[in-house]
Amino acid sequence: MSRETSAAALLPSGVPVRFLAEDGTRVDEHGHYSEPPSERLVEAYRLMVLGRRFDAQATALTKQGRLAVYPSSAGQEACQVASALALTDADWLFPTYRDSVALVARGLEPGEILTLLRGDAHCGYDPAETRVAPQCTPLATQTLHAAGLAHAMQRRGEDSVAFALIGDGATSEGDFHEALNFAAVFEAPVVFFVQNNRFAISVPFEKQSAAPALAYKGVGYGVRSEQVDGNDAVAVLSVLEDAVAHARSGGGPVLVEAHTYRIDAHTNADDATRYRDRAEVERWRAADPVRRLETYLTTENLLSADDVERFRAEAETFAAGVRDTLNADVEPDPLSLFEHVYAVPTRQLAAQRALVAAEVEA
């Protein structure tokens, strides 16, 4: 393919792409993007209801001491669910610690997702089998892994895409910039999806970046870029599906910024009232993505009251399962500490293993 030399062709939409106003009415601010089929939107809604319930349940389990920590993504359900829906099983997802709901939407077991946050193991699922990389705690480092893996898949003749999730704070890290540059130079099939939720722990976006929008950061690297209303599920799904299709067809990487908001604190260890007004949070609650989509689908007769009831009941059952799983006491095997440090175990580790084994025995 020929390299795009016109910056204009890479520029994001002047305003975030949007199909739905905050009250759920249809608006025409979506340029060339088309509305996904109604079954996709209903499925997105179902997963958003499920994801919100999962998030609330995990938060509650943190308060009960069952999870060491849980970074909530309440308010970001449209972004989380669309990330999973935009991908096939053969695509690779690179999530952060805040993207557990995306993993729920991807179909992973809650017990496996929460293993990390419960403190049992660093990763509770099999990344090779699920094509979901371990939830990444260092910021932006996984964007390079996504670029490298995308290049690897391209070389192997697979038409799979790597999809990397990051937050607004991570766009200040060097690895984010190196990843955009590598992906562009190698024309790798990777989508970088920034959920700009306005805060990096306590630091507001205004102190994070002076860019008019993070989406503009792609242009300088030669990466096609877009911005979208992150609380409009119709828009996020449409834009991400388009981005994935672009990358899959050999068009090179895409950067998408979703404008959204973190309703809860960074984690349960953080007091959000110290750095933001209640009024601001309330304004964003009014932009709630779940209610917005529900209003739209209901008004358009794509979703019945029975459907809503059924999805909520399904979410309750799901949450009960999460509770049961997390309330079961599981003591990880101490000797597993010595597994998988090296493929070929070292003599030093064998000696230390014997020491811990004797201590456990005593």
Binding site: A121, L144, D175, V341
Partner: protein, 332 residues
Amino acid sequence: MTEISMAQALNAALRDAVKDDDRVLIFGEDVGPLGGVFRVTDGITADFGEERCFDTPLAESGIVGFAVGMAMGGFRPVVEMQFDAFAYPAFEQITSHVAKLRNRTRGALSLPMVIRIPYAGGIGGVEHHCDSSEAYYTHTPGLRVVTPGTPQDAYDLLRDSIDSPDPVIFLEPKCRYWSKEPVSFTREGAAMDRAVVRRAGEDVTLIAYGPMVATALETAAAATAEGWDVEVVDLRSLSPFDDETVTASVRRTGRAVVVHEAAGFGGYGAEVVARVTEQCFHQLHAPVLRVTGLDIPYPPPKLERHQLPDVDRILDTVARLQWHDEPVVAGA
């Protein structure tokens, strides 16, 4: 066997690995048509194509992080960091991901990759070109850290490192790139995580690695005039550490000196001294001493002769092993 330099031996190892395994890819800055600033990748792009050996953007974290993804995708990347201190931007990728991915994923993903880092001084390099950074990497569980002291080991160790299922930090002693010896390509010599006795002796064990192996051998030769029969152990593998070879030697000689270029304080030599002391205490006739670089930032070229351990400084330290009741200053 033809006599070749260490740089040529490394080049031969890379070529043979690329030839033998389609998954092996070489990349980094300037490794393509230029052949690397030390010419270690000379001619590989020309002979095997840009698919197998290619230049990347100038970004060390990017190179290593990209290699992580490539290894996850089934390739075996061999990347070059060009100079020791240039690798520091990649430190987070190396310590947080390269070293840990196998463990984080409980064996589901592995990273068979090699990070080549030309290191240490003695070549008159300007600042940031002469660091000995081994302690950063050996302190990180999950990494293998190796450094050849001879052209033969350079070939064997690099082939072994590329075949290793574990990630390897491959430290190349820059000042030995041009040292020559006959090299066999049969890979009968080196064992990946075994030290080797380079010279047998009865009175004292000099423990060295990488650039200091040759200096230790020169010292051993000079020591005969002083009446010392010096044994030289070349560690080759810094992590894991070969306790057996080292302790067998020290138990026999009863005296040991560890030599390295890096600063002594908190350095790799302290680990070696601790291990030897713990395991050979009753056979020791004197404290285990260190001869190291000074605890200063690597000096400018006109002063580096004061930084680098040399034959005289090592001989003086060996002599002190007779009168161990004198105060001992590491690195002095």
